[in-house]
């Protein structure tokens, strides 16, 4: 089964959403991410979605769920690299991901988290 890779980079976890995310993949990702947050004690998760060209309400909710899970485990999610078309779709779907930090790119997300210089 496809799994979304979760990379530990320094103090944070880097997750890149790419291609088709099916239900099973999404569920596995939520589970894996929870485990990795606990095992690595990461406080920050970079969710790179720059490769997502289209989204639906399912992906929109997935992003919200991931952020909520991370928050419960005392970690924060920064969503990075959202494409314009994706942003417009999410707004039209009424999913504006309130309370989740966003960044133009992974680079600016790192700068935002203040760890850009350390890498």
């Amino acid at each position: 089964m496809d799994r979304v890779p979760i990379n530990k980079v320094g103090d944070f976890l880097l997750v890149s959403l790419q291609g088709d995310i099916h239900d099973a993949v999404a569920l596995a990702l939520q589970e894996d991410l929870g485990n990795r947050i606990v095992s690595t004690r990461a406080r920050l998760i970079l969710l790179d979605i720059s490769a997502l060209q289209i989204v639906d309400s399912f992906i929109g909710r997935l992003i919200g769920d991931i952020a909520a899970i991370a928050r419960l485990l005392d970690a924060e999610v920064i969503v990075a690299g959202m494409q314009p078309a994706v942003a417009i779709t999410l707004v039209e779907l009424g999913l504006d991901l309130k309370g989740i930090r966003t960044a133009l790119s992974v680079e600016s997300a790192l700068a935002m988290a203040g760890i850009g210089a350390r890498i």
Binding site: V79, M82, Q83, A87, I88, L90, D96, K98, T102
Partner: protein, 286 residues
């Protein structure tokens, strides 16, 4: 009933086509449909003779269906005439008269030899061609409007870079759904292209803000936020602020400033920069 029940009558029209052309042009001049200020006599003559030869050619086919293949040549001549007239400021009545004026010389010529049915048939044909021309003219005008609309849309959404990482979008005119879409797309694309963190939507020149416009603004701000940029709204005039409050529209989570200058200052502050007077001691160069 075929129009050319007698081919001799058609021949007659053909042989006297110069005569018809001259009378047709005279007819247009008499009815004021010639417009010497818009078209020279030579051009009008050329236009008329082209349409007339297409007309006689189509008439020769015997078909009375002006939308049929036999009339294709005639339709394309009329199309070029009416589209060019729609663009260059002719009146619709003048354009229709152009076709209708053809009726009198043709019927005059036929009257002597043809029977009533044939005359009526020709009359019907020309009426239908005139209607067809009116439609084309209208379509030409609509094309002009559509083109202007899209040009206006492009013109009205400039994205200005104020500073490294700060974009401004002065919005001029009424915000409707279509424009909001264009504004949103232009802004988001510019954010990606320039890697800007802050965008300022300046609505100084938006005449009115109603619930829908407010909704559109909120959508644009939310979309920009989703991409990781921050959006300020500036240029809210006092009346507009009143309207927004009276309408009960809240602009939640949106930073609003009275003027573009205020918003720019806030943007610089967010980037950790400030504007200081020259020579205030912070300048490093002597």
């Amino acid at each position: 009933m075929p129009v050319n029940s007698s081919s001799s009558r058609l021949d007659q029209l053909h042989t006297r086509s110069d005569d018809i052309l001259a009378r047709w042009i005279a007819e247009q001049k008499a009815s004021g449909a010639a417009r010497p200020d818009l078209i020279s006599e030579a051009d009008l003559g050329r236009q008329c003779s082209e349409v007339l030869s297409a007309f006689l050619g189509a008439l020769g086919s015997g078909s009375t269906d002006v939308m049929g293949p036999a009339w294709e040549g005639m339709r394309s001549s009329l199309r070029s005439v009416s589209t060019s007239r729609a663009r260059s400021g002719w009146k619709p009545s003048e354009t229709v008269l152009f076709v209708l004026s053809l009726k009198y010389p043709v019927i005059d010529l036929l009257e002597k030899s043809a029977n009533l049915d044939e005359v009526i048939a020709i009359e019907r044909l020309i009426d239908r061609l005139a209607l067809f021309t009116a439609d084309l003219y209208q379509q030409g005008r609509e094309d002009v409007i559509l083109r202007q609309q899209s040009e206006l849309l492009e013109l009205s959404t400039p994205v200005v870079k104020l500073w490294e990482g700060v974009l401004a979008l002065p919005i001029i005119g009424t915000l409707d759904s279509e424009r909001t879409q264009v504004v949103m797309e232009t802004l988001l694309k510019a954010l990606v292209d320039t890697g800007s963190m802050i965008a300022i939507l300046d609505i100084t020149d938006v005449p009115t803000v109603d619930t829908r416009v407010a909704q559109h603004l909120i959508q644009t701000v939310s979309a920009a936020r989703l991409m990781g940029a921050e959006c300020f709204i500036s240029g809210i005039r006092p009346q507009i602020a009143q309207t927004i409050v009276h309408l009960g529209v809240a602009l939640p989570d949106v930073t609003t400033k009275a003027t573009l200058a205020d918003a720019f200052a806030a943007a610089l502050g967010r980037l950790g920069r400030a504007v200081v007077p020259a020579g205030s001691g912070s300048m490093r160069t002597p």
